[in-house]
Symmetry: C3
Subunit: 482 residues, 3 copies
């Protein structure tokens, strides 16, 4: 279990997840000078745990401090974003403002990121993909619905049960953090947050087809709220097709008024979670079904500075099918990913935890090219905090860096991933080292062995980040003859 | 033979098919009060049939009445459409006004439906598809041509011979009502209406590629009318390539002036229809060729209220290839199809016979969403009569209903059909029944057994329609506790 | 070796390739009356060759004349194009003006054709394809870079070495005229013109994906010019990821200032060309790698009037992969290709050598259709000279004709080529002959045997062109009864 790598009592998670953050509104500026009541409550809870030894209590309180600092950092960044007009001008990084709330009830909400092509045509390659974040409070029920799009669900946080109507029965699966499940287009399904305390957060990737870039939700069962699609038919049509008198139908469709996400009882949760199936294998092969846990696969890269978990299509028989890879980067606090690029894939990254920074290099797109000999590049950067989305087109080098407060965790959907490779500019395997000597020498106008000396670091994929380096800056080698 | 299920003498068909209907123009409003001369002629013909017994004659005259009423209904609806501005504002239903006549000769015409994206981007998913209706009078010849698009031909009515130039010879096939044939992009072909009396009606689906949403006709052989594409080359190019003096070529290209669809003699028809090949298997598999009759396959659904015939791609080796399904619904007069939706496919329906009504539910597209808890839906509806086209995007529930005058027959092309399933909201198998008890109870806010009781009807796919129900409305059960 | 079919000493090629042609600027109009100094130099060089016999010298001087005439013709046509506003209004033929120089150094340049959709939506079917021409002077080096697009390289002229970084090493291949190699998206590569005298010309087809219709170059190694993409990252990011002090990095990235294409020494060329791998099989199958020579495959068509070399995808396991065919037509001087069309493919033709004319027939696109019986066609034509690009959509008949001065050589990329066939209107196999008798008779309104008589020429695919025919015009048969 990766995301939850500090085993803080669930109550703490609950506590901090209650700090609802209205986007771009009054954030108390006095927070840092006074002792925060939330922090006090957290520590108080630690002291109250009777089964804890004194050492346990001490550790617990330290975690309170850590979590508090992290939350504070996130809030600051959100506020900064709000005050500075946020990512408004940035075509590759999306913050709160670019999400629109589609569903909002007392017990949950669904926020949908604007179309990637909303502001520029640069992201037309992922026009068919839409990203949505579902949040459901503890013990809540998301009413049965179907979408006119394929849906890939990643469990960011929490414990859910999902029921999918297939043929004449309902298949149920339990979802834990890290679980991925595919809901085929048109499949009716419902979701239960079966946890008594923790909020459920799902990252949903919609792959649209019928109406490119658009997806719609259709609630079949329902009433007044959620409104049942059936109600939009004429009464004579409903009477004839359901074969029941219209007054009975009106009665039926007048019952439900709790909204599309509502709270249910412990008994109802228990009853709904019963009979779920044992998760089988990765659903991307077509034949297999049920969720797959990304974190239970062997991580493809792992060192002190981070870990990368990957899952993708291997040998799909059908080309029409997805060519999607899912990966999850867990970057150790204070560390960074190597500057690298995807050879073919377009990356859609969603920060699920922690804060940090994103930098990407893109050819200079606006204004005139100043010299004809070669293109000029510019830097796109953005602050990362939970919920921020960034897109990296194929070929574009990028880095992500974790602040020191906590690990930075990023869920990535990589589109057009068949045959994709990641190529790095630094680390054990990098394209400068792989280049033959003479070419390297000519390209840098500098002797190959000296270039190699500069690009000789041993770590791979994840490195200590800029902040760590600042501490021991004096140790940085001056390798060239400068 | 499904379409022609009343065996009226061909002469009647001929008679009524001659009632040419100029779109939105003078339709006599006195028709219902006076005895129509066409009806009189029809009945007169019945009485004249010497081989008929008295009973036959009586039946024949009854059929005249039936056909006449049906025609009248169609005309009324056409007029209604004309007067009310028709489907102008409807982005999912298309009538006469949305067809443009591309070819018009004394002996036939080709009408092409506007691009599906002409009025809104909602149908961009089927942008590459274009629908055309070819009508050719008895014993007529459609000059050889090729298209820059794949072409799927469905024989709505009549008896044709089609000749396809493949390699160094011409393959000929006979087409009957219900026959489907694929003409690969660029293949030169001609069509003969080999019937002496009956009009030939073909529904042509063009799958465009070279210029998305556009297809063009290229007449190779020809002259002044149809103009041969060759004539547009320079004379020196033609002389050099054909190796014949320009005066001879001018002579040759000056011969044909009968238009692209013209009448031919009985002998010419006979000669052209000679040597056709035995229809083999379904052409969608790639290897097989020739037409396939949709009605000779086992109908996938059949009961008193309707029948559904289907054919589609099973295991195509090539993904580039079509992912198209063709089906044909024959809805018994006064009956309806169940409210259902396609999980993935976009349906393009063309009414080939009868009249009725169409209802579809779509998320409320215009204006502001009024509450955030769940989407609101609106009804799209349209009157159905021969020639009306409707589109149902994936996930959108719809019903079609037949008036009592006659069966309603609908040809459907379903695009993006690989892995598509139809899911119904009512009938023997429906998604409400398939949902597990507790979820159903929560979704409707009503005990599961009572919901089940409401959704318990036994028929499947086709039901008695609203009009039938009106008669015995008192019998409709009041199943809920209302 | 096809392109270089006259074995003129390399020095001559060099001489004439130096005649730089500023587009649409002062071209001396006196050239034809005076003896051109370039021609004199050429002939002088012939006389100086000590190893030549007198006959060799004579032949050499004749080749000077031939080459000179050819160059002159090209210049005239370029000037004509310039003066007349060129192909500005033509949506299917592109000349110099439609190319934009992206890279220009003393030692080479890269010119990129505008997007095919720049002026009209008619070519949306090839929107994802972009064409670029790379020219590199003798003994020059194209700095390592990667693209965010698939790249197909065709060696128009010259001798190159290409180095591709794959995994942790660099694979090197030698390229000769006619060699085709695929550089997968994102692969870093460099190019060397290893010839001491001859210019290298490559035709590059970019298949864009990440940003449709856009591709970008990313130079990893580099400095100030070409600018390294790495430099656009923050210094703290670079320091941390490369683990070297920023002053050293600044030094490193300050070294290179020779541009992206620069001259290198004979020794450097030798060193770079060392260790190249034996070209293996056609790279389109996916497994095989390295270049493939188009001219070493059996030509699919060959007669006195021309030859066609073809290579394309046969049985690709993956459908996502390219469905591209490459062919090369070498039309004998004074000859032409038959009027024909592609059944499915869209052709992108690039003239690599010689001059000539292009004619294509397209349905009348602008203005109202004048009669409803059949479409009208119009001719699109263009003068062909090296560098001119033309596009032929599927279904559209076209011809290409070589002037008498030299063979006309055309490289074609055919997009959407799976299952494509070429259908001709004249020659041994043509669609008029293949049509059955009665249909032909009806279509032309003329007896079948007389039509056949007209379409009876025996040659196939390549014919004597219009100019040749002019000489013996009296011999042209008057075959019809005109």
């Amino acid at each position: 279990m990766i995301v939850m790598n500090t085993k803080l009592p669930l109550i703490l998670l609950l506590l901090f997840s209650l700090i609802a953050l209205p986007a771009c509104l009054a954030l108390s500026s006095s927070r840092e000078t006074e002792v925060d009541p939330e922090l006090m409550t957290c520590k108080h809870q630690c002291r109250q745990q009777q089964q804890y030894t004194e050492r346990d209590k001490q550790k617990c309180m330290e975690r309170c401090d850590g979590y508090y600092k992290k939350k504070l950092k996130e809030r600051e960044m959100e506020q900064k974003e709000c005050e500075e007009g946020g990512y408004e001008e940035n075509r590759f990084v999306f913050g709160n403002k670019q999400f629109k709330t589609r569903v909002q009830t007392e017990n949950g909400r669904v926020r949908v990121l604007q179309k990637f092509t909303a502001k520029s045509n640069l992201l037309r390659g992922i026009e068919n993909f839409r990203l949505a974040i579902l949040e459901a409070q503890q013990h809540s029920f998301v009413s049965p619905l179907h979408f006119d799009s394929e849906l890939i669900i990643f469990t960011v946080k929490g414990r859910a049960t999902i029921g999918l109507v297939k043929g004449d029965k309902t298949e149920k699966f339990n979802l834990e953090t890290g679980d991925v499940i595919r809901v085929p287009s048109g499949t009716p399904f419902y979701i239960v947050n079966r946890d008594e305390n923790e909020k459920l957060i799902l990252a949903n990737l919609h792959i649209t087809a019928s109406i490119p870039g658009h997806f719609e939700a259709f609630y079949g069962p329902g009433g007044r709220d959620p409104e049942s699609v059936l109600e939009a038919f004429s009464w004579d049509v409903l009477e004839a097709s359901i074969k029941v008198h219209k007054e009975s139908l009106k009665w039926l469709f007048g019952r439900q008024n709790r909204g599309s996400i509502f709270r249910i009882s412990r008994e109802q949760v228990k009853s709904l979670s019963k009979g779920w199936e044992i998760p089988s294998l990765w659903p991307f092969g077509g034949q297999k079904r049920g969720p797959f846990n990304l974190f239970k696969s062997k991580s493809s890269v792992s060192n002190d500075y981070g870990r990368l978990y990957e899952a993708g299509p291997e040998d799909q028989g059908s080309l029409e099918d997805l060519t999607l890879m899912i990966n999850f980067a867990d970057i150790t606090n204070g560390s960074m990913s190597a500057p690298m690029y995807n050879s073919k894939a377009i990356k859609i990254g969603i920060v699920t935890n922690g804060t940090g920074r994103f930098e990407m290099v893109t050819p200079h797109l606006s204004g005139k090219q100043q010299r004809k000999s070669s293109p000029r590049y510019e830097r796109v950067s953005g602050e990362l905090r939970p919920g921020v989305v960034f897109v990296v087109p194929a070929g574009h080098p990028w880095v992500t860096m974790a602040h020191r407060q906590s690990n930075l965790q990023i869920l990535c959907f990589e589109v057009n991933a068949r045959g994709n490779v990641k190529l790095a500019f630094a680390g054990k395997r990098n394209i400068v080292k792989a280049m033959d000597e003479k070419a390297k020498e000519l390209a840098f106008n500098w002797p190959a062995e000296k270039v190699d000396d500069i690009f000789s670091r041993k770590e791979e994929f994840f490195f200590p980040g800029p902040q760590n380096l600042e501490d021991d800056e004096e140790e940085l080698p001056h390798r060239a003859d400068a």
